[in-house]
């Protein structure tokens, strides 16, 4: 396909995320990717959760993507932080004529066999994407809030735009710390998580500015949208599924966050349960943050 080459980068000092944060200790129960600032585990249990989450997202935001793509115009697609590869695989079915590349720091979770139009590359966006400029008609990245330290978001988004063709779309989707109708238990949980995240260099507030990041990277026709999604069985099957995913996602952070804050796991579990009960009682909704825009047609 393309003559890929990694961009040369001088590595004379430790990356910023290593200077400003300390990785949580490895847990005996969960497996983590070494040497990258990724807070979530990378194991079979997490793979299962990610695939489940993929289906939850499809049902709740209506599609695998939000940008207004004209099918015939989509020839190359990039998915950054591809995880299990489920997104590129489903996109290959929607865009059978497109060449699709998924990128992740670890490719241990990919299923077999893979669609012939999909290719997976091991790379870390924090170190630069191993692609030439202007390669992709659609560049997609979602739910990397636990993988990109706050200070590196502008650089990451610039990379996404760099590899996107003029006129091509760049799309970001994230889940932060906004839960509508949150009660005291939910607020307590969110404050606990955002405080620890901040200590680790992951500032969730950046997720409210995804559109700004696209604009600063030169995109136009930017559309930003907050998407509240019901959280809990009170809203039927979709709400129940999202609640399950959120509980497991928070649970996946437990091994990282509890030792750091000195919170016993059982206290964390109780905090989670109290918040989960509140989601049902208060009819809460979790807000996704989405933004997409286009690289200008002319430089």
């Amino acid at each position: 396909m393309w003559p890929f080459h990694r961009r040369n980068q001088a590595k004379t000092e430790r990356p910023v995320w290593q200077r400003t944060a300390t990785l949580p200790p490895l847990s005996e129960q969960r497996t983590y990717v070494p040497d990258v600032p990724y807070l979530l585990p990378k194991d079979a249990q997490e793979d299962q959760r990610l695939n489940y989450q993929h289906h939850v997202l499809y049902r709740t935001i209506s599609n695998h993507y939000l940008a207004p793509l004209a099918p015939a115009s989509v020839t190359t697609i990039l998915d950054v932080g591809t995880g299990t590869g489920i997104w590129p695989i489903d996109m290959a079915a929607l865009f059978p004529q497109a060449h699709i590349i998924g990128v992740d720091v670890a490719l241990s979770s990919l299923p077999r066999p893979l669609p012939q139009t999909c290719l997976f590359v091991q790379a870390n966006i924090l170190e630069g994407l191993p692609f030439p400029d202007q390669q992709f008609t659609f560049t997609h990245q979602r739910l990397l809030v636990a993988a990109i330290p706050a200070a590196l978001w502008p650089k990451a988004v610039r990379e996404l735009v760099r590899v996107t063709r003029p006129g091509g779309w760049v799309e970001l989707l994230e889940l932060g710390d906004t839960i509508q109708n949150a009660g005291p238990a939910t607020k307590r949980l969110l404050t606990w998580m955002t405080t620890i995240s901040k200590d680790l260099g992951f500032e969730i507030d950046i997720l409210h500015h995804l559109g700004d990041l696209l604009q600063q990277s030169g995109c136009q026709d930017i559309e930003s949208q907050d998407i509240p999604v019901p959280l809990g069985a009170w809203a039927g099957a979709n709400g129940k599924m999202l609640k399950t995913d959120v509980l497991h996602g928070y649970g996946a952070l437990k091994d990282s966050y509890c030792p750091r804050s000195g919170t016993p796991p059982e206290v964390f579990d109780a905090m989670m349960q109290e918040a989960a009960d509140e989601w049902e009682h208060n009819h809460c909704s979790y807000v996704f943050h989405a933004a997409y825009g286009r690289r200008p047609q002319t430089p």
Binding site: R59, T60, I61, S62, N63, L66, A67, P68, L69, A70, P71, A72, S73, G167, E223, Q225, D226, I227, P228, V229, P230, A235, G236, N238, Q297
Partner: protein, 116 residues
């Protein structure tokens, strides 16, 4: 395609794009997820993509031509109807009046083009 082409001026196309964007944003933010809602949103999403590509054609052309599938026509009609209801409930203003008038014209154009 089994439906006749929809011909729009550039201004009409720009407004139609905005209407579809507005309706998608409103719907995804206010309606609980459901298969019906999601199907409608996906149709509008793809239709917007086609419209955007068509709008980028050389500006020398006087009108844009959209070839719509039957489900796209249905989705478009529902969008206009629902937006009309939404805007009609807003406080009176010049902008509201123009939008309601424009939506009415657009719906008439759709009904005439795609007489069922």
């Amino acid at each position: 395609m089994s439906t006749p082409p929809l011909r729009l001026t550039h201004d009409q196309a720009a407004r139609l794009d905005l209407y579809m964007q507005t309706y998608r944003t409103y719907t995804i933010a206010t309606l609980l997820p459901s298969p019906e809602r999601n199907i409608l949103l996906r149709i509008l999403q793809t239709l917007r993509g086609k419209l955007i590509v068509e709008r980028e054609q050389p500006p020398a052309r006087h009108a844009l031509t959209l070839y719509l599938a039957k489900e796209e026509v249905t989705a478009l009609k529902k969008t206009i109807t629902d937006l009309f209801t939404l805007y009609a409930s807003q406080p009176e203003s010049t902008e509201r009046l123009f939008t309601l008038s424009d939506l009415t014209s657009l719906k008439a154009c759709l009904n005439k083009t795609f007489e069922s």
